[in-house]
């Protein structure tokens, strides 16, 4: 794997309760906020460490978020007949807040 001083293929997202999720950089980039935080051209600590701490999102929620990021990445090119993304209703409100924070045109 060609490693251009910090431009790793995988990045880490850390939830408020300490869970760490390793996801593809391209998946994280679906979220505008994350993309900005991890952008190599910024001087953010997150970008240097390839690690983003999200103290307002719990572990369970963050897992669902990662699931969505991959879902979006996978079906980006063929939005026609894609399977539905399952969201348990109890999570819907918090997920909405989280996705609002993570923003992005796509999130």
């Amino acid at each position: 794997m060609a490693d251009m001083s910090g431009d790793r293929e995988y990045v880490r997202l850390v939830s408020s309760d300490g869970f760490e999720y390793s996801i593809l950089r391209s998946a994280a980039a679906v979220s505008g906020t994350l993309r900005g935080m991890l952008s190599q051209s910024s001087n953010f600590v997150e970008a240097k460490q390839n690690r983003v701490v999200l103290p307002n999102i719990s572990g369970v929620l963050l897992e669902k978020v990662c699931e969505y990021l991959y879902y979006n990445l996978k079906h980006q090119n063929n939005p026609g007949n894609i399977p539905e993304f399952d969201v348990p209703p109890e999570m819907a409100l918090e997920l909405l807040v989280a996705s609002d924070f993570l923003d992005g045109k796509h999130c």
């Binding site: 978020v65 979006n72 939005p79 807040v97 796509h106 999130c107």
Partner: protein, 554 residues
């Protein structure tokens, strides 16, 4: 088949088949002979057959050592049979059937060249030259299934694209926020508190609820909070008047309020608003037909002086007194007034509007009897110079006189003009407005939909005048237009044109729409309902949605 040597005429008992063939004069030898003759003619013309034959016989010789001798000896007969297959395309159906090896015969697979027994289910080879053994055939069967699947799925995909186009939806992966909002909307009855999710999303949720018709008395509280400044509810049909009053109780600081389909609204609601909503400066009520005229008078007397924008639609209880109250109280502040389908107003009432000098946006739509040339010319004379938006949809009594004596001299600052359904205008009238209309810098929104008497001259003058500024152009049902107008539109460098509607304009075809999407860089949406000359072959740039094509199947 045994034959009598020496040409003896003695014939023993024969099978029914032999008798049958002999009666019909069908002789296998004769047929074979005929084939060879025609084949020789063919092989002299095309060298391919020779190559194939020699190639296959060479490879099969190298392949199977056990049958080498058999192969070598029967290579000639195979050559013949191979030639028969190649020939079958050219000779026709009948011969193809006759050359096809019958079930039970042993043949060599056209792909892998292995020996196999022909059955009724043996598949023909890709190029038609022979049959495939079971394994090769089944491999292709898989591929054919896949092909069929992709065909069906691509058809489905086209359908969903077309359906999405009609709804003008974005064809993309659904956003997480949108999905969550959908779920919330479905479970809205169960959710107690929605928490802090931002004003913008609140509006989105309100919209979705309205679409689901789930905005009810027991759910409305979820959207009311003391800090809200803008509140838009598009479907209040399930809200009783007590719930509508709640809006003022819970959101006293609201500045802009839109309530559509609010049929259950009664006078007490409006009275309560007038006392409690101290910061209200913009009110839109659509469908509040129970509100009496007297109530409106009280309302304007109470807070008319802070109203900046007032929009009313679909009621018959708004009459002269109400309008007088507006004029009396709001003349200093009212900048935008919109009255649509307010059937009780007459021409004399409209003249009251002369006393609203601050107006920059005026809508008087769908009130045919009340709008005449003279009264509108008078109005424009009074405040036309500051008017930015003018909407007089369905004012069929207006004629060219209004255009030439009202709009042209006074509407220098006009940017949004909507004159849909005005069939009183002629081509010449529209042309006379826009030709060399120097006081005006260009329209941004122009709507001439269903102005059926307007044609090329008028619209071309409009294009010449406003091409550099036009963003939305609606020419629906202006059927007299010819393609010259659209060519002019394409060549006029309309860099901001993003929304174009030319439904039912018969002259527009594939060519025109292609040039338009090519030249107008900002185009996002084209509405092409009823344009029969636009087919699926039209090459549209990516990023431009074309809604309403006949070829988009649902």
């Amino acid at each position: 088949m045994s034959r009598n040597a020496g040409g003896s005429r003695v014939r023993g008992p024969n099978s029914a088949l032999t008798e049958f063939l002999r009666e019909r004069g069908i002789d296998a030898n004769a047929i074979r002979h005929r084939y060879e003759e025609t084949l020789q003619q063919q092989t002299s013309a095309s060298s391919d057959t020779v190559v194939t034959v020699s190639g296959s016989s060479a490879s099969s010789r190298s392949r199977s050592r056990e049958v080498e001798t058999t192969v070598a000896s029967s290579s000639r007969s195979r050559k013949r049979s191979k030639k028969k297959y190649e020939d079958s395309d050219n000779e026709g159906e009948v011969l193809a059937r006759m050359t096809r090896p019958r079930p039970g015969q042993i043949e060599f697979c056209a792909e892998c060249e292995c020996r196999f027994t022909v059955t009724a289910y043996s598949k023909p080879a890709r190029d038609g030259n022979g049959l495939l053994c079971h394994s090769c055939g089944s491999r292709y069967a898989q591929e054919e299934k896949q092909q069929k699947k992709t065909q069906i799925s691509s058809r489905k995909r086209k359908k969903s694209i077309a359906a999405a186009l009609l709804d003008k939806q974005e064809f993309a992966v659904p956003k997480l926020q949108d999905m969550c909002i959908k779920i919330i909307a479905n479970y809205i009855e169960d959710v107690e508190v929605l928490g802090d999710i931002g004003d913008f999303n609140m509006e989105k949720i309100a919209r979705i609820l309205s679409r689901n018709r789930s905005l009810r008395d027991n759910t409305i509280k979820l959207f009311l909070s003391p800090s809200i400044k803008r509140l838009h509810f598009w479907d209040c049909s399930n809200l009783c008047s007590d719930s509508l009053e709640l809006i003022a109780s819970y959101c006293p600081l609201v500045e802009s309020l839109t309530l559509s389909m609010c049929g259950q609204m009664t006078d007490n609601v409006i009275d309560y608003y007038s006392t409690n909503l101290r910061n209200l400066h913009s009110l839109t009520i659509n469908g509040g037909f129970l509100i009496t005229s007297g109530c409106w008078v009280r309302f304007f007397d109470a807070i008319g002086s802070q109203l900046n924008r007032f929009s009313l639609a679909n009621t018959l209880r708004f009459n002269t007194e109400s309008l007088q109250a507006i004029v009396k109280n709001c003349s200093a502040t009212l900048e935008e007034l919109s009255l649509s389908r307010v059937g009780s107003l007459k021409v004399e009432d409209i003249s009251l509007l002369l006393q609203l000098p601050m107006l920059t946006a005026l809508e008087l739509s769908y009130m045919r009897e009340a709008i005449t040339d003279d009264i509108m010319i008078d109005l424009l004379q009074a405040f036309g110079l500051q008017l930015i938006t003018l909407n007089l949809d369905d004012s069929g009594d207006l004629t060219d006189k209004f255009l030439v004596e009202g709009i042209r001299p006074y509407c220098g600052r006009l940017q949004n003009l909507s004159l849909a359904l005005c069939d009183g205008f002629t081509d010449i009238g529209v042309r006379d407005v826009f030709k060399d209309w120097e006081v005006n810098n260009g329209l941004i929104n122009a709507n001439f939909s269903r102005c059926v008497n307007v044609g090329d001259e008028g619209i071309q003058a409009l294009i010449d005048h406003s091409a550099k500024t036009l963003v939305v152009l609606n020419l629906n049902s202006v059927y007299k237009l010819t393609s010259a107008t659209f060519q002019l539109l394409a060549s006029s460098d309309c860099e901001f044109l993003s929304h174009l509607d030319f439904g039912f304009v018969h002259c527009v075809g594939d060519e025109e729409i292609e040039t338009l999407t090519e030249r107008c860089k900002s185009l996002q949406l084209i509405e092409a309902y009823g344009n029969i000359r636009i087919t699926e072959l039209a090459k549209i740039n990516r990023g431009v949605k074309v809604a309403g094509r006949q070829s988009d199947s649902i």
